[in-house]
């Protein structure tokens, strides 16, 4: 009897204690106290470390703390938080298409309302970039970082060993692929599976499409003016499967679907490499050299990049690139200070000095770039005659992901390209 009443009182005390603790803890302000903001983006690992260097400098300068939240699957995260009335202060998002969707919902603040006038922005960024960060004629996103997606990574020492020349055309690239294979080496590694890595396939497609159908059709396709059932799309998808197939990729198509983006970099440049060539954007250099992969790489010797080869000679070298835009969900003094800082040349210089990114900011000097890898990428972006923004990131809503899924279907069933494309077109019809 006593024991049982002891238990009962223990229960009562526990309830009380839990209640008090919970109240005390949740009484801590969830609204960021003045002097701190929350930034949401997708980066992790070395890309995140690079960004944190920038925020550290910001904190040192202004005393405002920055909490970084990462979410690779950022769309549901943003959506639930908006519905809960608790969005992050700032989101640095890679998809102008998605930023447009958010702007239309009224979830974002215009840059001019935050103290960044159009003229101030125009002084630091070219019109092309500003247009990408706008929706409905108003500017919402500060172009924070950019990367070229038209570079292919290789091992110079390997090329030297086998006397390969840097390929300038697609056929030459295919020839090198076949030669590697003939020597018993696995030519490529592609990671388009776990950790939402299907976007890598979209980049393959975009580069091929730009080089076979041309910039005008590229723009039209990704802004809803051209249908995905157009024959040029199927054509580009088919060319993609000339390399991404069971013969030339590590572990075949199933390996592609089972490997993540960072995993595939490790396959080529890690300490026990399994393949020789790799395609993804300029940021690969920074990732490959970080502790995530292999810090003992020597730029120029064991790792370097060359520009994407041409396919149709007349279409030459359009550069496909991507950028992340910083957009604000809330308006307060700290948010304004941060956005202003991000738009300065100083912030850009710090960021590019990490070798992880290039800056679309006109005010960032070339000497800020730390290595030949980064300088090469910056040069390519700066001297591009034709610059095309990453197509899948231009698609509205979450269709960037859906397009990646469709391409995953394509590499598995190249015979079904037409039906896969028409299914996708049905989904995206009327969504622009």
């Amino acid at each position: 009897m006593r024991r049982k009443s002891l238990i009962a009182s223990a229960l009562a005390i526990a309830i009380l204690a839990a209640g008090l603790t919970a109240t005390a803890i949740s009484a801590k302000p969830t609204k960021k106290h003045a002097g701190s903001i929350e930034v949401l983006s997708l980066w992790g690992g070395s890309e995140k470390d690079a960004f944190l260097k920038v925020t550290a400098a910001f904190t040192k300068k202004t005393g405002i703390k920055v909490e970084y939240t990462s979410a690779r699957d950022f769309i549901p995260e943003v959506r639930t938080r908006l519905a809960a009335g608790n969005p992050p202060d700032i989101g640095i998002l890679p998809r102008p298409g998605y930023i447009g969707t958010l702007a239309k919902q009224g979830a974002l603040k215009t840059l001019s309302s935050l103290g960044l006038s159009n003229s101030a922005m125009a002084a630091n960024y070219s019109a092309g970039w500003l247009k990408l960060g706008s929706s409905g004629g108003k500017l919402y996103g500060v172009p924070a970082k950019a990367n070229s997606k038209s570079v292919i990574w290789y091992k110079p020492n390997s090329f030297k060993k086998y006397k390969f020349k840097i390929p300038k055309t697609w056929n030459q690239l295919l020839a090198i692929t076949k030669k590697y294979k003939a020597k018993g080496l696995v030519p490529w590694s592609v990671g388009a599976g776990p950790s939402q890595s299907q976007w890598t396939l979209t980049d393959w497609f975009e580069n091929i499409y730009a080089r076979t159908a041309g910039p005008a059709k590229y723009q039209a396709l990704f802004t809803g003016k051209l249908k995905f059932t157009d024959p040029s799309v199927a054509n580009a998808a088919r060319i993609m499967t000339q390399i991404i197939n069971n013969k030339y990729v590590l572990n075949g198509v199933q390996g592609v679907l089972g490997q993540s983006f960072v995993g595939s970099i490790t396959d080529v440049f890690g300490t026990s490499p399994k393949a020789q060539l790799f395609f993804e954007g300029g940021f690969v250099g920074g990732i490959a050299l970080s502790k995530d992969v292999n810090p003992s790489l020597k730029p120029g010797v064991s790792i370097n990049s060359f520009p994407w080869p041409t396919i149709k000679a007349s279409l030459d070298h359009p550069v496909v690139g991507a950028a992340d835009f910083a957009a604000a969900f809330k308006d307060n003094a700290d948010v304004r200070a941060f956005l202003k800082y991000i738009s300065t040349g100083a912030a850009g210089s710090i960021w590019v000095s990490t070798g992880a990114v290039t800056s679309p900011n006109k005010k960032v000097p070339a000497k800020s770039y730390p290595s030949i890898l980064a300088r090469g990428e910056a040069k390519q972006l700066a001297t591009a005659k034709t610059f095309l923004f990453d197509g899948s990131d231009l698609l509205p809503g979450a269709f960037g992901d859906t397009w990646g899924f469709a391409l995953q279907d394509v590499i598995q069933k190249p015979g079904n390209i037409k039906s896969i494309l028409s299914t996708f077109q049905n989904k995206i019809q009327g969504q622009f």
């Binding site: 009897m1 049982k4 009443s5 238990i7 009962a8 229960l11 526990a14 309830i15 839990a18 209640g19 603790t21 919970a22 803890i25 949740s26 969830t30 929350e38 980066w43 992790g44 690992g45 995140k48 909490e67 939240t69 990462s70 979410a71 690779r72 699957d73 639930t80 938080r81 519905a83 809960a84 009335g85 608790n86 776990p194 950790s195 939402q196 993540s260 960072v262 995993g263 490790t266 026990s272 995530d292």
Partner: protein
Amino acid sequence: MATVDSAVPITAQTRSERLVRMLSRTPLHIALVGIALVWLVPTVGLAITSFRQRPDVASSGWWTALTHWDWTLHNYDDVINATGMGHAWVNSVIITVPATILPLTLGALAAYGFAWVPFPFRDTLFLIIVALMIVPIQTSLVPLLKLFASWGHLNNHYYGIWLAHTAFGLPLAVFLLRNFFITLPKDLIEAARIDGASNLAIFRRIVVPLSVPALASFAIFQFLWVWNDLLMALIFVSDPSKQPMTVRIPYLLSTYGQEYSLLAAAAFLLMILPLIVFFSLQRYFVQGLLAGSVKT
């Protein structure tokens, strides 16, 4: 030569017969022990990986570590401090404790009413509760999100998820406890009523003390259920600094996907408390599970 009184019992147990019996059951033993071991392999593999050094993990299988004892606590240190899992662990506790106590309390009170107090529509209401036990969470996600947001941003605090878990734990609590309460000795309660005890007094002094096993069973079941929940926390805890471990670990996956040793440590941290609860309170947990075998 058999004698009359050397009647051999059916289960003859001479030495050789025992040996034969054991040997013929060897396949049985092998099968059982083998399967049990195989069942343990995945968990053990994870545990071992969590104690290994990073470069080792990538270059050799965890089974080799059984012979080379090069263990480290570094992964746990990293995971707790650098990636915020320690904080997330505390969040898990903060979410789980009230989300267990609330439905337990409300459920016990209601169960008493259903078990011992005659009121109109009692049986119908109880049947509705029985039906509600298996309603999928998906039917509440969106409306509750809206509701909590409009009630003052409950999602920014823990109130939202406490309420949600309470609601989903109540049907089972009421069902389980009511079924137990009606087995309590009628005489006891009647005697107390005759003595003039109020409902509350009966509840407090008779029903609850006698029902500790049932209360414990539900409490443990609910505790583990909430601790292990992912979907509700994903949707109803929008403040990243309040998210529990189950939500933060998939984030870890997407940003540190290659860091197997880190992931293993994080997963193990997530598992430790449930495992302790399970092993120390196994009986209650199993009882709760069996009684709740209509809920998932």
